[in-house]
Symmetry: C2
């Protein structure tokens, strides 16, 4: 009995991708220690037949385990949602719970239709996003430095400090043209503690990424095990040298240690107020 109580099935149900339901659901469930959650996502649940199928899966899980499943739903359509609500699960309807207070505040009725992402995400936005992704791919890893004047932001840091994935996230989710430049041994070991000459005209849009040396070493170890490149000593040296140069240049420095790519990206947008220019 105790054993059963400590395991719980979770279902995410959405008429779109399910990402919002997952994100909020995971955040809520992380508040409950000692429970082992196993989850399934049903995305693009649009027809009554699909909703009926999902409801069947939820109910079957309840009958098999004898424990109430938890369902996070972002279904917009009431008639579709009813199939899910009719199960014996603990159903959290992220959408329907808030339509009432919004209708009251806005003093109009909701249209209760499934969201059409392309209304918000128009051609102009799509073009911007594609342009940013193209730019970022072309300007990854210091391949070119002659396009830095067109960049919205330039990330600088040692190898494996999360520059590339952060740039891709910025391009994909914020349509920001993000270039990056990896600091090499040659750059790091110059005597005047200065960032490379060709970066100096762009200091206002350069962000330094730093990371704790032990975490960097662990990441490099996964990549190229037992190389000088991955040793703690080498990482400590590079992180220290890069730190000195970044501080001397007076650029904004972000410590990516223990941050997910999403968090690094959002922090950077917040700090540099990058969206103001967009």
């Amino acid at each position: 009995m105790d054993n059963k109580q400590n395991k719980r099935s979770v279902f995410y149900v959405s008429d779109r991708t399910g990402k919002t339901a997952e994100s909020l659901g995971q955040s809520l469930l992380s508040q409950f220690d000692g429970v082992e959650f196993s989850d399934r996502t049903f995305a693009f649940v649009i027809t009554e037949m699909e909703a009926h199928f999902v409801a069947g899966e939820i109910q079957r899980e309840y009958e098999a385990s004898g424990v109430q499943p938890i369902v996070f739903s972002t279904l917009v359509n009431d008639e579709i949602q009813q199939f899910i609500s009719a199960t014996d699960a603990c159903v959290i309807s992220l959408f329907n719970s808030f339509i009432d207070p919004l209708e009251k505040s806005l003093q109009i009725k909701s249209s209760h239709t499934i969201g059409k992402p392309h209304e918000e995400f128009g051609d102009e936005d799509y073009k911007k996003q594609m342009d940013a992704i193209d730019f970022t791919l072309k300007n990854d890893d210091g391949i070119r430095t002659n396009l830095f004047d067109k960049a919205d932001v330039i990330l600088v840091g040692v190898s494996r400090s999360a520059k590339t994935p952060t740039c891709l996230y910025l391009a994909m989710h914020f349509s920001i043209k993000a270039a990056n430049y990896p600091l090499t041994d040659d750059d790091l070991d110059n005597e005047n503690d200065k960032l490379p000459e060709f970066l100096l005209p762009y200091l206002d849009k350069i962000v330094g990424l730093t990371i704790r040396a032990d975490q960097l070493s662990a990441i490099r170890q996964q990549r190229r095990p037992n190389t000088a490149y991955a040793t703690l000593k080498k990482c400590q040296h590079e992180v220290k040298r890069a730190g000195i140069m970044m501080e001397k240049a007076g650029i904004f420095i972000l410590d990516s240690t223990a941050m997910s790519i999403e968090e690094i990206a959002v922090n950077l947008v917040k700090e540099k107020e990058l969206l103001k220019n967009n």
Copy 2:
């Protein structure tokens, strides 16, 4: 008065990136036609001082416009949330609204602490994500075809059918190793209607991306205006030829017309059940 009623300020407030609040908020607000929403996001609101500042901004907006702002909050900490709840806004607390029913269902108390993403997002996950991004960058645009056996999925389609951004999304958000191959004129105009020879061993993991010719033409026009490449006629020809070859090969074909990158990616994961292998 009418004029005021049709404009509404929206605030997204989060102790993390704010993406969940934005996503659910935008989905809810899209149900209200004829209202013009202007929004601001406050991410990483963690201290009482920050919450106090945000509450001040919300209250100031109310006093300036005379219209109740709408606030979507995913703040976890009750004491921090109280600052926001104390404003005169219509405050939708996405988090706190659901802790009670979850506590009842799980029969335990929540810990009410701010989520630590790195508990869910461990080193192993980070490595997988980085590996997938590295792989995808190396295998973009048919640069290499000798690594196709290591790919989880290979996207095939004509130029500008959203292959690259979809691959990047799959790598970033699902840690899927996604390669892509663009069908060129040479590929498209072969007489036996077959996909290129070197793709044939991988048909089970190839997905064809298609798109309506007029949308493709519009996208290419933005890219390279007034070129033969962007004409409707050329696009119609390519889309038709690609369609014939994909159908003959019997691969799964996804129509990306009017889909966002996120939707294409999630549809693809759902259809190919890509996560089962992970």
